[in-house]
C-alpha cells in the first residue's frame, strides 16, 4: 500500500508539473497570439490568425526548395487576373484565386493544404452565408472553414470584393492567395510583370476599402507591396520614390536600404530620405505641428537639413546590415528574404549619432511651425488667409505662391511708392488686415501683421516688439522697406532699447518749441548713424522710429519708467544729450527749457541742474569752437552720442590734471595777458604838442598854470591836511577834489600811478612828484 501509495504520489508528483507546464505553455501561446492580434482593429470581431510567432515557427521555408515537394500542376489552377471562374455556382469575375483539388502549402508545418486554395469539391451552404464570419477560424483556411463561411467568401469574391462590411478574415483568405502568387510562385515559375502590376493594384484597391478597418491587414498589405516593390527593382534604392507616408513607428525597409546604400557608396544622406527616416523613427517624437502641417514640415525639414549639412550627412557604413524579410500573413507560407540581403547594405538607421544629429532640426522645425499649426488648429481659421501665412516661418513663406499675397505686396510697394519709407494712415492698414475691432489692432493682430509685413520685406514703426505701442485707427505709422542683406530683427537689443529711450527724450525736447529745426533733426539722425553699438538693420529701424516719433504726438508719459533702470552715468549722459539736442539749432528756447526741466525731473535731478547743464553746454560749445584753444587730443573727441563729457568726471576719477587742457589754458591766458597789457601797460609820453608846452616855465606836462602851481607847492610839503590843501586850491582858483582828480589823472597817464591818495591828510608820493618836476 505504502509502495502503491508512494507510486501514486510519485505519479501525481510527475503529472502535476506536467499539467502546470502544459497550462503555462497554453497560456503563453495564447497570450502571444492575442498580443499579436492586438494590432488588429478591435471592432473586428473575428480574431485574425497570429502571423508572427517566431518561437514556434521552426519548420518554415526560407525559400529553399530542396525539401519542398510541389503539388502536381493538374491538381489546382491559378486563375489569372481578368479571367473568371465558376465555383459552386458563384462566378468569380477577376480571378486571382487558386482553384482545384489540392495545393500543397508553402510551409508544411501547419497545413498540408494551402489555406488559399478554393477546393471545388467542398460543400458550400449558399443559402446561409456567414457574412459576419462568426465561424471563422484563427487561421482561416478555405478547406477548414464551415460551408456557410465558404458561401460568404465565394459570394464576396463574386461580388467584386467590395463589400465593406464583410469579415476581414475573408479578405485575408483572398490575400493569402495573392501572397502565394507574388512570393512563392514568382520564385518557382515565371510571373509576368504585367500580372505583378495587376496584383499590386488589387492590393491597393483592397487597402482603400479595408485598410482603415484592420490595422493588421494594412500592415501586411503595405509590407507585401513594399517587399515586392523592393524585390523587383533593378535600380538603386535611393533613386526610388519614397513610399507614401505611413504612420508606423519604425523605419521602413526601403528607407533603410536607401540610406544604407548611400552610406555604402560614400554618398551623403540626402534630405528626402532623411525626412522619411525622421518621421518614421520610433524614438523621434513628432509633435502636433509636424503631424498637422505635414507638407510644411517636410519642406522646412529639407531646407533646414540642407542648410545645416549641405548635401547631407556622410556616415561611415556600420557593421549591422539591413535584412529585409516578409513574413506572410498566410499560415500556409513562411518568411521571405530579399535577395539584396546578401549585398551587406549597412543599416545606418540604427545609429544613435545620426538620430542625434537631426533631432535638433526636427525640434527647430516643429517650433517654427508651432504658431502656424496652432492657428490652423482653430476651427474658425482658414488655411489660405493672409493671417495664417503670417505665422509661417519666413523660409517657407518665400516658397508659397498666392494671389492674395502678391496683391498685398503690390499694395505695400504702392504705399512706399519707390522710396525707402512712407508715412501711412493707420486706418488704411487696419482696413487691409482682417481685425475684429476697426478702431485698433489688438496686440495679437498687430504682431501677426508685423510678421506678415516682415515676410514681404517691410517694417513698420511703431512696432510693438520694439517698445512701440499698438496700432490705433487714428494716427499714422511709418512703413519702411527692410534691406534683405541686413539682419532680420525680432526684438530690440539692450543697446537699441537704451538708445530708443534717449531718442524719445531727445525728441520730446526737440518738439518742445513746436518746431523741429533742421539742425535738431540732423543731430538726431547723426546720433543714430554714429552709434557704433547698433547694426545697420537697427539703425534703419531706429531712423524710421525717429521719423515716427517726430511725427506723432507721443507724450512723455511712461518715460519715467523706462529710465528707472538707468544708472547715474547713463542719466548724466541722457541729460547732456537732451541739452545738446535742444541747443542743436543754436538756440535753447524757453519751451525747450521748460521741457528739459520736466524731463530732468523725470530723471530725478534737482531743479537747478537743468540750468547748470544748459550753461555748461553753452560754455562747452564756445570752448570747443575756439580754434586756438582746441588742442584736445583726437581720442577725447566725442563719439557715439556726441555727448559732452559729464562734469562729474573728476569726482569719479579722483585727482587728475589734463595736461593738454593746461597747455591750452596757458595759451589762452597769454592771449588775455597781452590784451590786458595793452590796457594797463605804462604809456609812453610821446605827444609832441605837450612837450612844447613844457617849455613854459610855469606849466608842467601840459597841465595849466593853476594845476602846475599846486605841483610846485607840493614840493615844499609832503603831507597836506585837507583844510590846508583846500586853501591852496582856492588860492589857485581850483576846486580841491577836481584839482586832485586832474593831477592824478595826469600822473596815471604819464607814470601809471597816482601822485597822491585823496584822503585827509593828503600824502604826496615824492617819487612821482620828482618825475613830474624833472
Amino acid at each position: 500500500m505504502r509502495s502503491m501509495g508512494s507510486f501514486k504520489e510519485l505519479l501525481m508528483k510527475a503529472i502535476i508539473p506536467l499539467f502546470v507546464i502544459a497550462a503555462i505553455l497554453y497560456f503563453l501561446i495564447r497570450s502571444i497570439r492575442s498580443n499579436s492580434n492586438s494590432n488588429a482593429d478591435s471592432s473586428d470581431k473575428y480574431k485574425q490568425p497570429a502571423y508572427t510567432i517566431p518561437e514556434f515557427n521552426v519548420n518554415i521555408s526560407y525559400g529553399n526548395s530542396s525539401n519542398f515537394v510541389e503539388s502536381k500542376p493538374d491538381e489546382y489552377k491559378w486563375i489569372q487576373p481578368g479571367e473568371s471562374v465558376v465555383v459552386a455556382g458563384y462566378t468569380i469575375p477577376d480571378g486571382m484565386v487558386y482553384v482545384g483539388k489540392h495545393l500543397k502549402s508553402g510551409s508544411s508545418y501547419y497545413h498540408t493544404e494551402d489555406p488559399a486554395l478554393i477546393k471545388t469539391y467542398l460543400i458550400v451552404s449558399s443559402n446561409s452565408p456567414d457574412r459576419q464570419g462568426n465561424n471563422m477560424d484563427y487561421w482561416p483556411s478555405y478547406s477548414n472553414i464551415p460551408p456557410s463561411s465558404r458561401a460568404a467568401y465565394l459570394e464576396w469574391l463574386a461580388g467584386g470584393k467590395v463589400d465593406p462590411e464583410i469579415n476581414i478574415g475573408y479578405v485575408f483568405l483572398f490575400f493569402y492567395g495573392i501572397e502565394r502568387r507574388l512570393l512563392h510562385d514568382r520564385k518557382h515559375y515565371h510571373v509576368s510583370n504585367e500580372e505583378i502590376r495587376r496584383l499590386l493594384d488589387e492590393i491597393n484597391v483592397l487597402l482603400n476599402i479595408y485598410g482603415s478597418k484592420s490595422g493588421s491587414f494594412k500592415h501586411y498589405a503595405n509590407s507585401l507591396m513594399e517587399y515586392v516593390y523592393l524585390s523587383i527593382t533593378d535600380s538603386k534604392f535611393y533613386d526610388l520614390e519614397p513610399p507614401p507616408i505611413k504612420y508606423t513607428y519604425e523605419v521602413g525597409p526601403l528607407v533603410k536600404l536607401a540610406l544604407g546604400q548611400l552610406a555604402l557608396e560614400g554618398k551623403p544622406l540626402v534630405a528626402n530620405w532623411m525626412y522619411e527616416y525622421v518621421i518614421h523613427h520610433p524614438e523621434m517624437y513628432l509633435k502636433t505641428p509636424a503631424r498637422r502641417c505635414t507638407e510644411e514640415f517636410r519642406k522646412l525639414f529639407i531646407i533646414h537639413y540642407n542648410n545645416k549639412f549641405g548635401d547631407g550627412i556622410v556616415v561611415k557604413p556600420n557593421k549591422t546590415n539591413v535584412t529585409v524579410s516578409y513574413r506572410c500573413a498566410s499560415s500556409g507560407m513562411g518568411e521571405f528574404e530579399l535577395a539584396t540581403n546578401s549585398l551587406n547594405i549597412p543599416d545606418v538607421s540604427i545609429l544613435k549619432t545620426l538620430l542625434n544629429k537631426v533631432k535638433p532640426i526636427v525640434n527647430e522645425c516643429q517650433d517654427e511651425l508651432d504658431k502656424y499649426s496652432r492657428w490652423l488648429g482653430k476651427k474658425e481659421n482658414q488655411e489660405n488667409s493672409l493671417i495664417g501665412y503670417s505665422f509661417l516661418p519666413d523660409i517657407l513663406f518665400s516658397t508659397i505662391e498666392n494671389k492674395d499675397v502678391e496683391e498685398f505686396k503690390k499694395w505695400l510697394s504702392g504705399l512706399v511708392n519707390g522710396g525707402e519709407s512712407a508715412i501711412v494712415s493707420n486706418m488704411e492698414l487696419i482696413k487691409r488686415w482682417s481685425v475684429k475691432n476697426s478702431e485698433k489692432m489688438t496686440k495679437k493682430e498687430f504682431l501677426s501683421f508685423i510678421s506678415f509685413l516682415q515676410k514681404l520685406g517691410f517694417g513698420i514703426e511703431p512696432d510693438i516688439r520694439f517698445d512701440g505701442g499698438t496700432l490705433k485707427a487714428k494716427g499714422q505709422s511709418v512703413l519702411f522697406k527692410l534691406n534683405e542683406y541686413e539682419e532680420v530683427l525680432d526684438s530690440p537689443s539692450s543697446h537699441y532699447s537704451a538708445k530708443l529711450v534717449l531718442l524719445q527724450f531727445a525728441v520730446a525736447v526737440a518738439k518742445a518749441d513746436n518746431v523741429i529745426a533742421e539742425g535738431e533733426q540732423m543731430m538726431l539722425i547723426d546720433s543714430i548713424e554714429n552709434t557704433s553699438k547698433l547694426n545697420p538693420a537697427e539703425k534703419r529701424r531706429m531712423k524710421n522710429s525717429l521719423t515716427w516719433l517726430l511725427k506723432s504726438d507721443a507724450s512723455t508719459q511712461g518715460l519715467k519708467k523706462k529710465v528707472e533702470s538707468f544708472d547715474q552715468k547713463q542719466k548724466d549722459q541722457l541729460a547732456d544729450y537732451m541739452v545738446a539736442i535742444a541747443g542743436a539749432d543754436g538756440f535753447i528756447s524757453p519751451e525747450e527749457v521748460k521741457m528739459l526741466s520736466k524731463l530732468f525731473k523725470l530723471l530725478s535731478y534737482d531743479e537747478k541742474q537743468v540750468y547748470s547743464s544748459i550753461h555748461r553746454y553753452q560754455t562747452d560749445m564756445k570752448d570747443s569752437s575756439d580754434e586756438l584753444v582746441s588742442v584736445r587730443p583726437a581720442d577725447s573727441v566725442k563719439s557715439g552720442f556726441s555727448i559732452p563729457k559729464p562734469s562729474m568726471a573728476y569726482e569719479e576719477e579722483g585727482f587728475a590734471l589734463d595736461r593738454n587742457k593746461i597747455a591750452s589754458k596757458i595759451k589762452d591766458t597769454e592771449r588775455v595777458s597781452q590784451l590786458l597789457q595793452g590796457v594797463f601797460a605804462e604809456e609812453i609820453p610821446d605827444e609832441p604838442e605837450e612837450i612844447d608846452i613844457v617849455g613854459n616855465e610855469n606849466t608842467i606836462h601840459g597841465l595849466d598854470e593853476n594845476h602846475s602851481a599846486i605841483l610846485f607847492a607840493f614840493q615844499n610839503q609832503s603831507l597836506w591836511p585837507r583844510s590846508e590843501f583846500e586853501k591852496l586850491a582856492s588860492q589857485h582858483e581850483l576846486m580841491p577834489d577836481g584839482a586832485l582828480e586832474v593831477i592824478n589823472e595826469k600822473a596815471y597817464e604819464l607814470f601809471d600811478d597816482a601822485l597822491c591818495e585823496i584822503e585827509d591828510p593828503i600824502e604826496i608820493n615824492q617819487e612821482i612828484l620828482k618825475e613830474f618836476l624833472k
Binding site: 543754436g586 588775455v672 582858483e733 592824478n744 589823472e745
Partner: protein, 454 residues
Amino acid sequence: MTKTQKIRSKDRDAIIQSLRAGVVPRKGLHHIQVGRSNEVSALLKDISRVTDEGSFIRFIIGEYGSGKTFFLNLIRSVAMEQKCVTVHADLSPDRRLHATGGQARLLYAELMRNLSTRTKPDGGALPGVVERFISEVLKKSKEKNLSPDTVIREKLEHLTEMVGGYDFAKVIEAYWKGYDTGDEALKSDAIRWLRGEFSTKTDAKRALDVRMIIDDANFYNMLKLMARFVRLAGFSGLVVCLDELVNLYKLSNTQARKSNYEEILHMLNDSLQGTAYGLGILLGGTPEFLYDTRRGLYSYEALQSRLAENTFAVNGLVDFTGPIIRLENLSPEDLYVLLTKLRLVFASGDSNAYLIPDEGLRAYMEHCHKQIGEAYFRTPRNTIVSFINLLSVLEQNPSANWQNLLGSVLVDKDSNPDFEGLENNDIDSDGTSLSPAEMPTSSNPDDDLKSFKL
C-alpha cells in the same frame, strides 16, 4: 604770458592782501586773469564802444564760483583804465532796478557811493567828478571871460532836454555856488542829491530849489544822465556793473519781478537801438536767473526773444556779439594756471624767484582735493587763501621746504550763498558794511587765516 614783465610792488601787495583776505583784488587783476581771452576781448571792444559815445549791455552768466565777480572787477578796472567812470552794486532785496518802495533809489545811491575813477578806484569819486567838471568850466570861463554860471548852463544845456536834466544842471550849479560862496552845506546837499539820498521832494526843494529828486521812477534815466555828465567832465563814459541779479529771480511777487525785467528790457532796447550814449551795463547772474522759464529772464517773453542766440552760430561757431557772455565753470586746470600766476605775482614777475616748483603746485592741489573734494577748484576761494598763506610762509622762511608744510595746510569748504535764504543778502542794506567787490561771503572770514598753521 610775458614772464619777464615786472609786476609793480604796489600791484603785487594789493593782489596778495586782497586774496589773503578772501576778496577779489581791485588792482592788478590782469596779472592773475586766467584764460577767457575771448570774453575779455569782447568786453574790451564794448568799452571802446562806450568811449566812442556808444553803449553796450552784457549779461555775464556763470555759476557760483565761476568767477563772475572777479570778471566784473576786471572789466571795471579795464574801464577805469580807459578813463571811464564806473559804478557798481550788488542787487539785493533792498536794491532793485524797479520798485515803488524806494529800493531802486537805494540801488542808485549805492551805485553813486561806489562811483570810481582810475584815480579813486575804491568808490567815493563823485565829488571829484563834479569838481573836475566845474574846473573845466572855470578854465573855460576864464578863457572866454564869461561867468561860470553861464558856462555851466551852456555846457549842460543839452542835458536839460532829458528827463531830470534841468534839475540835474541846477544841482551842479548849486555845487559851484556852494564852492564859490564857501557854503559847504550847499555843496554837500548837491552831492547828496546827485547820490539819490534825498527821499522827499520837499527837502530837495528847500535845500536846492529843485522840483524833483532821484527816485524809483527815474532810476535808469538818471543813469543815462550821469553817463552824459561824466563825458562832459572829461571822462570817456560810464560803466555800470550790477551783480547778483539772482535777487530779481528770487522776488516772489510776479509783478515786481516782471517790472524789474521790464527795466532790463528797457536798457537792452536802448543799447540795441543806440539811444544810450557812453553807457555800458554789465549784469551778473547765474544760469537759473537766465533760463528759468517761470522766474528767470526766460519767463519774460519780450526779453527772451531779444536774448535769443544768433541762430547761425551753431556747430562750433560762436558769436560774442550777442548780449550774453557765459563763463565756463572752473576746472582744476584753471586753478593750476591761476596758481602759477599767483606764484609769479609773489615772485614779482621773476620766474627765477619761484617759491615753489610746478611739482609743488600739483601736490598742493592734490592735497586740497583730498581735503575738500572737487570744491577745491569749483569754489576756489579757500584754496587760494591757503595757497597765498603757504607762499608767505615760504617767503619769510627761506629754509622751510614746501613738502613739510603741505601736510599742515588746512582748507575749508566754501558754501554758496545764492542758495541760502534771502536774509543773507540783507547785511549791507545800510550800504556801508560790505563792498560789492567782495566775493560771496562765508560765515567767518577769519577762518581762512586760522586754518593755516605751522
